[in-house]
Symmetry: C2
Subunit: 402 residues, 2 copies
């Protein structure tokens, strides 16, 4: 099936996003699930934005080095204090940055152009009304929209939410993703490597790729490549939102996974015209089986990660509410270091290493593990393109988040 | 002090990176602290890379649709099995993808060009020796360098490490960073907002920014803006690697922080010629006080985050071992949406919003909290540049990781 068709099918998968309320301190990298409005004015009071003296501006008009103005100091107001006196003609109050502007004052003279002696403040520059303080609610007014649903909660955004005193916020729940490696040859890292066996790679790489999409991977497992083992394992994950398997999708693996999904639910895609990753399967399990979307990735780790990034990741990000927010920094246009020759008729995901802002295709076969050690990202060659010349720009999708 | 000078001083801070050994499953986004060599060959045995039949290639020469070759099937070898029979002239063994190639065989005929009946395998295409299987150690040999010290452990890299059966790996320990907000006006989100008080922002935003640099923030606190409170708090963090304070650095705050650091250790920087963020302080505490680097950021949340990103983040990333690895995807050159006018004599960090690949400067003052809600990143205007024209390209540093 064409990659575009596959993407369309994935887009049409209708999964409900769940919402949960969490403490702001746990919100880093989560996604806001509802619009948030300011609970208070910001600033919450007329706030001095300089250290200096709150005055009636008119009193300072004409002040200069040679001809300073003298005002009576009536109060010292530090940040956090409540002023108790009104500033009147001929008087002033000392204010710290962040302190409330006292009644009667309409400007702050910054401390650098003043001197003080015996509660007499010398002012050597005039200020206009409104200078060096911020009006209550001038940044945002109580009830105004502070942040939109769908915002990725970075350090900056979390700061903005804490400014209005929010403790709990609504975020999209992290979709739960079960990760299964299938294969009789696979063993866990703690096991001894016997002849014919391979250490399982996809459990770790796919679980972490799932993390990078804002989802929660369930502790991953290896299952034997037979009908009952795979079916039982899939049935044990009723509470997952998504199941990702790898391996067991090639022709001679007897199409076991396809058979299992066919018996339990519905096959939407079997085989994508893309390299690497052709033998990919997408299916759904009905509501009484947990209403789960299942992706069957190829067994080769590089292929599995590529297909994950190209097809599964956008879906998971969408489910986690991350789809729009991460795109901005994800794609870079960079020049190709050498001519790249592709096969017609299939899209290509080409693994690359980025060096000196040049894109170096990693020309290893899909089974090569060392490609994983080198990879920075990949670009896609559309199926009708055969050659990309040296120096041509390609869009590199970063894998750094994976 | 000039930004370049400040950066030089920060670069010269000599902090030792600690190393710890952790389980591979906890390694996501950590940084490898030592070179890792392959513990085994990859593949660990001669491995079939197709479903099909292991043969002596010579037996298939001349085979065609019209003139197929017939071989005796002597064994079925699935992935994970150990072959027990040697393939000899006129015979073949069935192999699954990932299965070991049996002795005697030198090629795999893919299942698609074969048929089988009563243990006689019909082969309709010739194969050359070496086809459809991978030689033991052809990807990487035991003892060869698999991954370099300093590698960021993404999903792909973790996959590569698990391929050689590693369970524990050496990574740089996460630097411990204490985050302190100073200010009599600051309250925590659970407190009631009284007149003159402000909800603390920097605790949350800086703590999460610290996370984004691969460091571990200690639960952040608010302290009063007086000498003893600040000194006692700093003294309580002997086990931290870095202390970050915000607020209390402006002229009239009485330079309390400067006084404290001067009394406890050494001031390296006080005041940076950059906007926003001029009143920034950098100091060190001696070995008997924990050998700590201290950054005193301005109190305004936007300024604090900008200075953090420009000066503190590179230092923390370096300490966490992340300095080289994250730069690749961090900076984008994008066009400015409008003419930008800067003041001469100081570098400018200009907050921006990115829309349709255009960079829109956020023209709000440093105290504005809503800027935090909008920001995508920032660009730097060098101190000797006054005007950047509409359409000119600027280097946008992403804040998406913050």
């Amino acid at each position: 099936m064409d990659t575009d068709e596959v993407k369309k099918i994935i887009d049409s998968l209708d999964m409900e996003r769940k919402i949960e309320r969490i403490n702001l301190e746990d919100a880093y990298q989560r996604v806001l699930a509802e619009d948030v409005h300011a609970l208070i004015d910001l600033p919450p009071f007329n706030r001095a934005s300089m250290d200096g003296y709150a005055v009636q501006a008119q009193d300072t008009f004409g002040a200069s080095e040679d001809n300073p103005v003298y005002l009576d100091l009536i109060e010292k107001i530090r940040a956090g204090d409540s002023p108790s006196k009104e500033v009147q003609k001929g008087t002033c109050s000392e204010v710290g940055t962040g302190a409330p502007l006292p009644e009667g004052a309409d400007a702050v003279v910054m401390v650098e152009v003043t001197d003080i002696q015996n509660d007499k403040v010398e002012i050597r520059e005039p200020v206009a009304p409104g200078t060096n303080w911020a009006l209550q609610g001038s940044d945002i007014k109580k009830g105004q929209l502070l942040m939109e649903k769908g915002t990725l909660l970075t350090a900056a955004k979390i700061g903005a939410l804490s400014a209005v005193g929010l403790k709990e916020i609504p975020v999209f729940a992290q979709p739960v993703v079960a990760v299964i490696s299938t294969g009789n040859e696979l063993i866990k890292p703690e096991e001894e490597l016997k002849y014919g066996k391979l250490y399982d790679i996809n459990s770790e790489s796919i679980s972490n790729a799932v993390r990078s999409c804002g989802c929660k991977p369930l502790s991953s497992t290896i299952v034997k490549d037979d009908y009952n083992s795979i079916k039982n394992k899939i049935e044990s994950y009723k509470d997952a939102d998504v199941i990702i398997t790898s391996g067991g999708t090639s022709a001679g693996a007897g199409d076991i996974l396809r058979q299992v999904v066919e018996d339990m639910g519905e096959i939407l895609v079997h085989g994508i015209s893309v390299k690497p990753g052709k033998p990919t399967l997408i299916g759904t399990l009905p509501e009484d089986r947990g209403n789960i979307v299942l992706f069957g990735l190829p067994g080769y780790p590089v292929s599995a990660l590529m297909i994950f990034h190209g097809f599964v990741a956008p879906f998971l990000r969408g489910l986690a509410g991350l789809n729009e927010v991460t795109d901005k920094t994800e794609i870079r246009e960079l020049k190709l270091s050498r001519r790249y020759h592709s096969a017609r008729g299939r899209s290509h995901f080409v693994l690359v290493k980025i060096e000196d802002d040049l894109v170096h295709p990693i020309l290893k076969d899909s089974g090569a593990i060392t490609a994983l050690a080198e990879v920075d990202g990949y670009f896609e060659v559309p199926k009708n393109v055969e050659i990309i010349e040296e120096g041509e720009e390609v869009k590199v999708h970063s894998l750094s988040g994976l």
